[in-house]
């Protein structure tokens, strides 16, 4: 009963129990911190619909939208000691022609905001890593990284639709979302309703807009050729 193997086993068992309980407590502490993310500005600054190949690999020509937007948001309250990263993303959403539910949703832009202690885990360029390290020297938590101020940002992923048609689409809205990745525990996303100390994301929707008509053939051609030379 008191062989060293049994002792080793008990020690390991005790260690895992304690580690698990501590992890559970850390994860529960998330619910005790206030979250009040707000969006001050989210608006489109340029809209365009072009017909062509949405990226270099796509085989078919289709209509795709180019959107530029301005975003001013404050997600700093999402950064606590258990925040590993916040993944912020902007989607374009619009109802389908058949029914009124918002049934089309696509991410047009996203960004990974790491906590200072997870900077080294990201696949960042050396210069960006250096800048991040410098900005948060000596800090374990850096809520100021949650302040997003982006002007005239071009979308990261061309907006397309399986039907290949996008021009004159009505009631399109941009929406800011976020996903909080903890060091341990439960993942959480932006909410539409208040939930205890976690408030809903305020003002996260842009005004509704209609995508413009497709650009004429000559203009579109010019666009694709310049795109080609840039590549």
């Amino acid at each position: 009963m008191y062989s060293s193997l049994v002792r080793l086993q008990n020690t390991f068992g005790f260690f895992t129990t304690v580690a698990f309980c501590v992890a559970l407590l850390i994860s529960a502490s998330d619910f005790l911190s206030d979250r009040a993310p707000t969006v001050n500005v989210l608006k489109t600054t340029q809209l365009q619909v072009v017909k062509g190949r949405a990226d270099y690999y796509s085989s078919k020509k289709e209509e795709y939208a180019i959107i530029k937007f301005t975003l001013d948001a404050d997600l700093s309250s999402l950064f606590t000691w258990n925040t590993k990263q916040v993944f912020a993303y902007v989607t374009a959403e619009w109802p389908s022609a058949q029914n009124n539910n918002a049934t089309n949703q696509a991410v047009i832009w996203d960004t990974i905001i790491t906590a200072p202690s997870s900077d080294h885990l990201g696949n960042f360029s050396p210069s960006k890593l250096k800048r991040l390290r410098k900005s948060a020297a000596g800090k374990g938590i850096d809520p100021s990284r949650g302040k997003l101020q982006i002007k005239n940002q071009r979308l990261k992923y061309p907006l397309t639709h399986p039907t290949g048609k996008l021009a004159l689409t009505e009631d399109v809205q941009l929406k800011l979302h976020y996903n909080v990745q903890p060091w341990v525990g439960f993942l959480s996303w932006d909410q539409n309703q208040d939930w205890g100390k976690w408030k809903a994301l305020k003002n996260g929707l842009s005004r509704k807009f209609t995508l413009p008509a497709i650009k004429t053939k000559e203009q579109a051609k010019k666009k694709t050729t310049t795109g080609g030379t840039r590549a």
Binding site: L5, Q85, S96, T103, Q105, N123, N179, W183, L187, W189
Partner: protein
């Protein structure tokens, strides 16, 4: 130490004990599977395509029921590509339509382009059925044991041997 071998009753009890441990583990796994409605409710991250959120060896807890909302954009899901048996953990970046036929497109946070190239040729989108769960919980490092075991098969033998020895040698 090996006195139990001389006592058939005790040997049988120990065999039972060993069986009990195995079946408890199996029942817990299957029970979790029923609760979460996922064939594999806990998965280990095998690649770095979701870095820095998930590293290799991190443990993910999956949930595959749509109680209040549909699986939607921004969720991190584990899916199986048609005819391939490697589960992939990536984020949904677009969704067109609703219900089981909604067209879903995924992308790894750390990848430059979406997953169209990972899908079976001719398959441009996923549907809800391809998904075996959405990530709801996260536990770092713990799953690294299984990566070690699958990459160094001899460790499996050693570990099983140790476990067997411990059970046989330990007296109640």
């Amino acid at each position: 130490m090996l006195s139990s071998l001389g006592n058939p009753r005790q040997a049988a009890a120990q065999l039972m004990n060993f069986g009990l441990i195995l079946s408890t583990a199996f029942m817990m796994w299957k029970g979790l599977s029923v609760i979460s409605d996922s064939p594999s409710p806990i998965v280990v991250v095998l690649s770095g395509s979701m870095e820095p959120a998930f590293q290799r060896g991190d443990l993910l807890l999956l949930w595959n029921r749509n109680l209040f909302t549909e699986t939607s954009v921004g969720e991190i899901v584990v899916y199986n590509v048609k005819d391939k048996d490697i589960p992939i953990v990536h984020r949904i970046i677009s969704k067109f339509g609703t219900g089981p036929t909604a067209k879903l497109l995924t992308k790894g946070d750390n990848n430059d382009s979406d997953d169209t190239k990972l899908y079976t040729p001719g398959q441009n989108y996923l549907v809800r059925e391809d998904i075996i769960g959405s990530v709801v919980g996260y536990m770092p490092f713990v799953g690294y044991v299984t990566i070690m075991l699958s990459e160094h098969p001899w460790m499996k033998t050693v570990m099983l041997g140790i476990m067997g020895l411990v059970v046989v040698l330990q007296r109640e």
